[in-house]
Symmetry: C2
Subunit: 199 residues, 2 copies
């Protein structure tokens, strides 16, 4: 089956919308989603930004939260503005990278995003991740957390982030159909249409 590469950061607001929408679209377009967690932090740093542009520029931030609220309503996605923004998604990203091939991983990703953007939980906290892991799979959550911080897995996440930047990524969500890149939840349909003759 043809694939769509889906790059996201667990703290990214518009990535939340895409995580909630992409599996239905993938069915509709008969594509397989390759979930690729990355860290926007190092990418933003290389552009000279110490935090999200939405925090650096309050006028942009105010608009983004209103826009997100409208978009969530449009797609019937439950949303509340989290108290912490951007959330630190490092540990969640490590778990997702280490367990990319597990059948429960997509649900893990979805539940972490819901925890952040619907339930207003702090996803940097171990107990939050443990509770999500308990919901979505049957192994010992602590051993999953432990194996995710092994040096080889930490490296893997770093490499994924570096590769993302090499491919031209400067924000999330970003989607690739082969080497054609689309940025933003508002380009998700365009990405799926790409190459079908409908774009």
């Amino acid at each position: 089956m043809k694939t769509i590469d889906f790059y996201f950061d667990f703290g990214s607001t518009y990535s939340f919308l895409s995580v909630m929408r992409i599996s239905d679209l993938a069915k509709q377009y008969d594509r397989q989603v390759v979930y690729r967690p990355i860290l926007l932090g190092p990418i933003f740093k290389s552009l000279g930004w110490e935090t999200s542009p939405f925090n650096m520029y309050p006028i942009k931030g105010r608009y983004m939260w209103r826009d997100l609220e409208r978009r969530a309503e449009k797609w019937k996605i439950k949303f509340r503005k989290p108290d912490i923004f951007p959330a630190n998604g490092l540990q969640a990203a490590r778990v997702a990278v280490a367990n990319a091939k597990e059948s429960w991983c997509v649900r893990f990703i979805q539940e972490v995003f819901r925890a952040n953007f619907e339930l207003n939980l702090d996803i940097s906290k171990e107990e939050v991740l443990i509770s999500i892991l308990r919901q979505v799979q049957n192994s010992d959550p602590r051993s999953i957390l432990q194996s995710s911080v092994e040096p080889s897995n930490k490296d893997k996440l770093r490499q994924e982030t570096e590769l993302a930047q090499k491919r031209g990524i400067f924000g999330a969500p970003s989607f690739f159909i082969q080497e054609e890149m689309f940025w933003g939840d508002d380009r998700l349909e365009d990405a799926f249409e790409w190459g079908t003759g409908k774009n």
Copy 2:
């Protein structure tokens, strides 16, 4: 008739797409477009940017040009990447502000955008604006240019730009349905849908 406020900058790439699309949409949604030229320069400066973010961050710029090309194709709009970016649209904006009530003004705006983004002409040049003015109206182009640089008209453009920023604008195009703001050509349909019960 209900209105939509359409804020744009003559050098803005995505404003080009909106200028080419908005009059058809306005007919469809039975709205009157209020064209409101502003200058992004002073707004960007207040955010600490000396030029377009697309020039400050080449990785963003590369993506934007590709995205613009794809979007133009999608909407069947002729486009070529201009040699000068961002173009200096100061003089064109002054003409548009001074003549907002003239029936030819919308065509003037459209032709200036075409000059910049389809014909690769330098819209800061007087002869380019004169040639466009000749196309779209019957008065003396030079007297129109002269009256547009009168202090009261220069002030008017400055005030429009300041008002735009007060309303929350940080980029172009931006649209308002009353005080509800939408940013980007990709939110143009959403703006028209706003309040119709379809949004």
